[in-house]
Symmetry: C2
């Protein structure tokens, strides 16, 4: 399924540039020509490496997803126990936002732009959210907390709600409040 791209130096630069532009300005309004000029690369090089804009979009979403999951796992691993790990996920959210994710969730945004029903980004987005949901449920179960699945959904809603409302709703303490609510759920 996933075309294994050879990550040449130019390809790396292209993906970095595209990722930044896609996240900041949106996918549709960012043209291939713009990416090329911003990356200091010819349009042909983009198509030699990635084949199509859609492939580039998917590479952007996949890589961003990988980076985010790794960040979450790092925060979970650093927590002393399962209860603390649940809260730590919200610390990772604060870090994620501080490190540039101030325009909401890339998956949610992509979903809004790529409306074609069969677009592969839909499956990736659903997979990411289901992954976090399962991660929450596992941690709650490991902590011996009852109704793990139901509370996991609550945590997911708080997490995603905080990410989007910090931007769209301009609620500056959204992440803090979400973390506090999470702390109460695992208490």
């Amino acid at each position: 399924m996933t075309a294994d791209l050879k990550m040449t130096r130019a390809a790396r630069r292209i993906l970095d540039t595209a990722s930044e532009l896609f996240y900041r300005r949106g996918i549709t309004p960012v043209g291939v020509d713009l990416i090329a000029s911003e990356a200091g690369v010819t349009k042909k090089t983009i198509y030699d490496r990635f084949g199509s804009k859609d492939n580039l979009i998917m590479a952007y979403l996949r890589e961003r997803d990988d980076r985010w999951r790794a960040l979450v796992e790092r925060h979970i691993a650093a927590a002393p126990d399962a209860r603390a790990a649940v809260v730590a996920v919200f610390d990772s959210l604060a870090t994620w936002r501080r490190d540039g994710a101030d325009r909401g969730c890339a998956m949610v945004n992509a979903r809004a732009e790529l409306s074609a029903p069969g677009h592969p980004s839909r499956a990736l987005a659903a997979d990411q959210k289901q992954w976090l949901l399962a991660r929450f449920a596992d941690l709650l179960a490991a902590a011996g907390i009852p109704h793990a699945r139901g509370k996991a959904v609550e945590l997911l809603l708080l997490h995603e709600g905080a990410l989007v409302m910090a931007d769209v709703g301009q609620v500056d303490d959204a992440v803090d409040r979400a973390r506090e609510a999470a702390r109460r759920i695992v208490a």
Copy 2:
């Protein structure tokens, strides 16, 4: 600021058609020509009534926002007391989704597509979320619940998280779980 549009029969049809298309397929990929042909109208009529695509977009967002706020207020008014009213907001969310809002929040989606920093849709989106936040805070205060503002943020996160995760995350019980969490918050 808001151009008072004369809602002729054609204008009504245009706005209805555009609203449906914008919400289902997204704003950018839906062209003015498509709206015209789907509404059985000439492109010129669209520009005679609305002036620009941007004005049409704003009319779409504003009207949708009005409908939604009215729905929420109706549910609040029907509740026996302030505590029940908070929960009733989540009932209105279930109704809203059942009546067609199965592609997340139009404001959040618009935010993802219209990245221009000064676009008026940003202000409208922020206003909508701040309105719901204030509505929650007022109800909590009226019910004599302490820490009204903090809990209001929690409710907002649950609400928005549920709306987006029911779609993107394919969490089918998102709204139910959010309502249950709300019930616990006001208990």
